[in-house]
Amino acid sequence: MVPNMFQSILKYKKYRYLKLSLLSVLASYILYLSQGSSQPANGGTLQGYILGIFATFLVLLLASLGIRKRKYSSNLGKLQGWTSAHIYLGTSLLLIASFHAAFQVGWNIHTLAYVLLLAVIFSGFYGLYTYLHYPRVLSINNTGGTQNTWLEEMGEVDDKIKAQASSCQIEMRLFVLSALKNTILSGNFYPQLRGKDLSKIREQSNKKLIPNKNQQRIIDAIATAIPQSMNQAESGALNQLLTLFSRRQRLLKIIRRNLQVRAYLKVWLMFHIPLTVALMAALIVHILVVFIYW
């Protein structure tokens, strides 16, 4: 549900920045076409210069989002407006910069700047995709709860598991406890991103750690043990354990998915921002070079 009191970044102020971007692309195109027959279209003509300067202005404007985002008392528009403008103007750069370069590429520093620009823009596209797509995924995954409530519930479930395990035979008890102990929630950023479950469990026969992905190994073991159990107390405990581990399995899935999606929402900025820095450096070189070798 997107109630009408909310506005997505794309629709912000009735597509104000989409309109602005289309306008600047159109103006740039006219400028590009207007390059006379005396000189072929190029970054070095008067029109080329204007386009280059305009493109650079846009890059600086886009990069300054990083600063505006952190100027929290700033009254220069809402950040949402900035983001909306950022997206549309950033996209328009794709064409405007190409008009400036008159679609010429080669193995030189100029093209490096151009390629970096493309890289920033395309990483931005991916970022926009994550911003539009993943919030809903998170919301559905969380069904009203939050990461903290899941972690708390995990704590409670683990306590109950420990309590039930104490009525099981030693083998099973150790197996259960080792499943708890060797559960790996997230690991570093990379496994988080992959959503990979690295949980293990210690096999009681040979004391080796074996994978316990999705808690499946322990669930299987408990399910197998239930019909074999002779002792009524133990059988009750095993049944309880099965329920508890099923819940645990579910909780782990939710938690891990949350971590994964949140990582998706962040990871692209780890490309977008450094690429922006590299782009700015390449641009400076490009500008110096064209002045020196003019």
Binding site: N4, M5, W82, T130, Y131
Partner: protein, 839 residues
């Protein structure tokens, strides 16, 4: 002492009692015989228990700044330890006759032969009694053998860090118990004993923290649920082998421990005070005994001062101690606040003593005539006196005002120009105005006018409903007004039934006027208003059920009512109504079967109007029926449109369940847009001294809407309820904020039901944005959890911090402005319908 009888016995050695005893000792020391005619009784083992129990190192404030201290005991703002040291020295120097461990359990007899009975059985006689036992009450004991307060059995905990590597058993499930247990758990093994199977009395923050601690097995933190205490075994002379025996569901359990801390709440002192014959005006918990100008209660010779008498700050309490002894010794003293009164009246065109003006004003306003003089005096001191002058006089007088203000006056008569607005329709100011001279014009919607004369009052609507002003007010020439802050008025209404009735009566008349526009003669209107009942519903209480036959309608005075259809479990909320709205009028205007279930979403006050009364109102002005019918059909349309979308009505129900019905300005987040960047929190911290006042992730969600933990600027803020320093205010534009006079007592933190107030030190200033970006200084924008507190700030202690809706930020709330995706918005209940309308 004469014939074994004291002249005055002072009970309770808080600031009030100490000051009184100090003054009484002064007279004793002056008299030629060395007899002590005064005695100070204290139930605790050292003086001023309330202050003794403040957190170690707490900065004690000497608010209100404008009041001078008049006491033989010294008191300046400073560390708790210094304050207590000074008082100890004062006790020695003045030779105060103080007796510790002497809890008074009964007072009998009468002036001048009171008999005071102590807990240990002995009794003492006295001519006069000064009761200054404060409001903290005495801790509820375990009710077992060996439960007396000792090093082993404690009922308070000053400083959890005093314990290390000990085993401590904490008993209780309230916030105090949990906070103590968590504090101790840092360095000790802790058992917490809960009589029930849940911690349902605790605040959410504490609840989460205690559950986390219980669940975290690396802690030595254990909880015994469904458990009672069976016995306490005191330790031996070497302080060893103490233990506690618990009655658990699994049988008896003995735990060897170093200390038992029982936090079972306190027994409020009211019952005891009543047993002394002192009358309270009503049953409300906040009610204050009626006192005369000299703090004397209805029991002759029994005086009540300090917090118990309704004065919640140390300096006030101390001044009263001095004054009460002066009076008992037959000296007429002008109270310490007399100069304040003079300043209040200074710019008025009278040449009269301030006390005379005071008496005159009290006579002039019917509602105030019956108040006791002391209460009226306090009312005036806490109020502003406002005079409206024509342009010329305004010019002249404001020069006088300026010079006076620069030469040391703090609070003078307020000046306004006649013809200027006192307040404007739609503003949130909620002080209450009484006209003592001249007249005031009220203007609603730009055209409806109404004139009020001297002796009348206005502003009761906002006071009672917490809503913005319903009309604008303009003062005439030379009009003089008493502007009373909401808090003082609320206190007065709580303690004085006549004032409460007077205001309620006028409220009812004006509310009926607004809702029904009747054309009844004033006399009949007044009589009708007198028959209308004021009813109160608790949150979640049903007002009426669907399908019932209804014979009355309700006019909401404060709070929010939800209308729903269907049965429990399958209930669809279709509408919500606020103060000024009518509920259930359909039953009187056509079909008498209730079409909805009406339920109070938060605490609701309403006028109950029955069929007869309703008919009388509308028949006097039949043209009004059309207006009412139009309102009703408007409401029906909306309600049916929401009811037809299950999702929408569920969302409204969710928002109401989250308490947003009493919000005026709440942050909500659309989960389908939120990218979890926490920029909103960072923005909040960056614009508010490095401390975020919102917790984005915590809080409930439903169908993509998330209500984070953040202040909602309630209509009737719970947090304001008992702030001793009166530091919480509402700005004209509606924001509820805390000012610098906060003394850090933590009452608001406890009172806010939404858990949005934090106690925090002032954080050091951070390096600027560019120093961080380019030089890597500091931790960057946002709250720095590892910030090092400056020693100076540590000394000043923690203060309450909460959202102020960025009232000082030009662009409005920083959280909303900083959200890159537009997920965060702020809404009021009026927006609910819009919010769900887009589905």
């Amino acid at each position: 002492m004469q014939d074994g009888r004291y002249k005055v016995v002072i009970i309770g050695s808080g600031p009030a009692g100490l000051s009184a005893a100090g003054r009484a000792a002064f007279y004793d020391n002056k008299s030629p015989d060395s007899q002590k005619t005064h005695l100070l009784l204290e139930s605790f083992s050292s003086p001023a228990k309330t202050i003794y129990q403040y957190q170690k190192g707490k900065h004690v404030m000497d608010e209100p700044g404008f009041l001078a201290l008049r006491s033989p005991m010294s008191f300046v703002a400073g560390k708790r330890e210094n304050v207590l040291d000074n008082w100890q020295q004062g006790i020695n120097k003045n030779q105060i006759n103080i007796q510790f461990n002497s809890e008074v359990v009964k007072i009998s007899g009468e002036y001048p032969q009171f008999v005071i009975q102590l807990k240990n059985g002995s009794s003492i006689q006295s001519e006069n009694i000064v009761l200054s036992i404060g409001l903290q009450g005495n801790p509820r004991k375990l009710g077992l053998e060996n439960d007396a307060e000792s090093n082993f059995v404690r009922y308070t905990l000053e400083d959890p860090d005093e314990f290390e590597d000990k085993t401590v058993v904490v008993i209780g499930a309230g916030d105090a118990a949990i906070e103590n247990a968590l504090g101790l758990a840092r360095n000790n093994k802790v058992h917490i004993v809960n009589r029930r199977n849940e911690f349902n009395r605790a605040k959410e923050g504490n609840l989460n923290a205690v559950l986390t601690a219980i669940n975290n097995k690396s802690n030595q933190f254990y909880c015994q649920y469904n458990t009672n205490v069976k016995a306490v075994n005191l330790p031996d002379e070497n302080n060893e082998n103490g233990s506690i025996v618990l009655d658990t569901p699994e049988g008896d359990l003995e735990i060897a421990c170093d200390c038992i801390i029982a936090r079972l709440g306190a027994i409020a002192p009211r019952r005891f005070v009543e047993s002394c014959g002192v009358k309270f005006p009503n049953d409300k918990p906040t009610s204050i005994p009626d006192l005369d100008n000299n703090y004397q209660s209805n029991v002759k010779g029994l005086y009540i001062i300090g917090a118990l008498g309704g004065y919640p700050l140390i300096k006030q309490a101390m001044n009263q101690g001095y004054e009460v002894i002066e009076f008992i010794n037959g000296n007429e003293v002008k109270p310490a606040d007399h100069p304040l009164l003079e300043q209040q009246f200074k710019l008025l065109p009278y040449a009269m003593d301030a006390q005379k003006v005071l008496d005159l004003y009290q006579q002039r306003v019917p509602m105030f005539k019956r108040m006791n003089a002391l209460a009226f005096r306090e009312l005036i001191i806490e109020s502003n006196i406002v005079i409206a002058l024509d342009a010329e006089a305004y010019q002249e007088t404001s020069i006088t005002q300026k010079t006076a203000l620069t030469s040391g006056f703090d609070k003078l008569t307020n000046l306004i120009r006649s013809g200027d607005y006192i307040f404007k329709q739609g503003n949130y100011s909620n002080s209450f105005y009484t006209i003592v001279e001249g007249s005031v014009e009220l203007i609603k919607d730009g055209n409806k006018k109404f004139t009020l004369k001297a002796g009348q009052f206005f502003g009761e609507m906002s006071l009672l409903s917490g809503r913005p002003r319903q009309a604008s007010a303009i003062a005439s020439d030379d009009c003089i007004l008493i502007e009373t802050p909401r808090k003082i008025m609320a206190k007065l209404m709580n303690s004085n039934d006549e004032v409460a009735d007077g205001i309620n009566r006028v409220f009812i008349m004006r509310a009926l006027q607004t809702a029904f526009n009747p054309k009844l003669p004033p006399k009949e209107m007044n009589a009708l208003a007198g028959t209308i009942e004021l009813v109160e519903f608790k949150a979640k209480q049903v007002i009426y059920n669907q399908k019932e036959i209804g014979n009355e309608l309700y006019l909401i005075r404060s709070g929010t009512v939800s209308l729903s259809k269907g049965t429990e479990g399958n209930k669809l909320v279709t509408y919500q109504l606020q103060s000024g709205d009518l509920v259930g009028q359909m039953a009187l205007m056509g079909n008498s079967t209730r079409q909805h279930t009406a339920e109070a979403a938060v605490r609701v006050e309403a006028l109950k109007i029955n069929k007869q009364q309703f008919l009388k109102l509308v028949q006097s002005n039949p043209s009004q029926i059309k207006v009412l019918q139009a309102q009703l059909s408007q409401k029906m349309k909306k309600s049916n449109s929401i009811g037809s979308v299950v999702e929408a009505s569920k969302t409204i129900k969710f928002l109401l369940d989250e308490g947003l019905g009493e919000a005026t300005n709440a942050l909500i987040i659309n989960e389908n847009l939120c990218v979890n960047c926490d920029n909103c929190e960072t923005a909040c911290a960056e614009t508010h001294g490095g401390i975020s006042r919102l917790d984005r992730e915590t809080g409930a969600s439903f169908d993509g809407l998330h209500v984070p933990i953040s202040c909602r600027h309630c209509e009737q803020p719970h947090c304001m309820k008992d702030c001793p320093a009166d530091a919480i205010h509402r700005a004209e534009s509606g924001e509820v904020f805390i000012d610098d006079s906060c003394i850090g007592c933590g009452n608001c933190e406890t009172n806010c039901v939404y858990d949005v107030i934090k106690m925090s030190y002032t954080l050091p200033k951070k390096p600027g944005l560019f120093s961080w970006m380019f030089l890597g200084l500091g931790n960057g924008p946002g709250e720095d959890l590892d910030a090092k507190i400056n020693p100076k700030d540590k000394e000043l202690g923690k203060k309450a911090v909460k959202c102020d809706a960025c009232m000082d930020q030009k662009g409005g709330p920083a959280c909303v402005r900083a959200c890159p995706t537009g997920a965060a918005i702020r809404i009021s209940p009026n927006d609910f319908v819009n919010l769900v309308d887009g589905t």
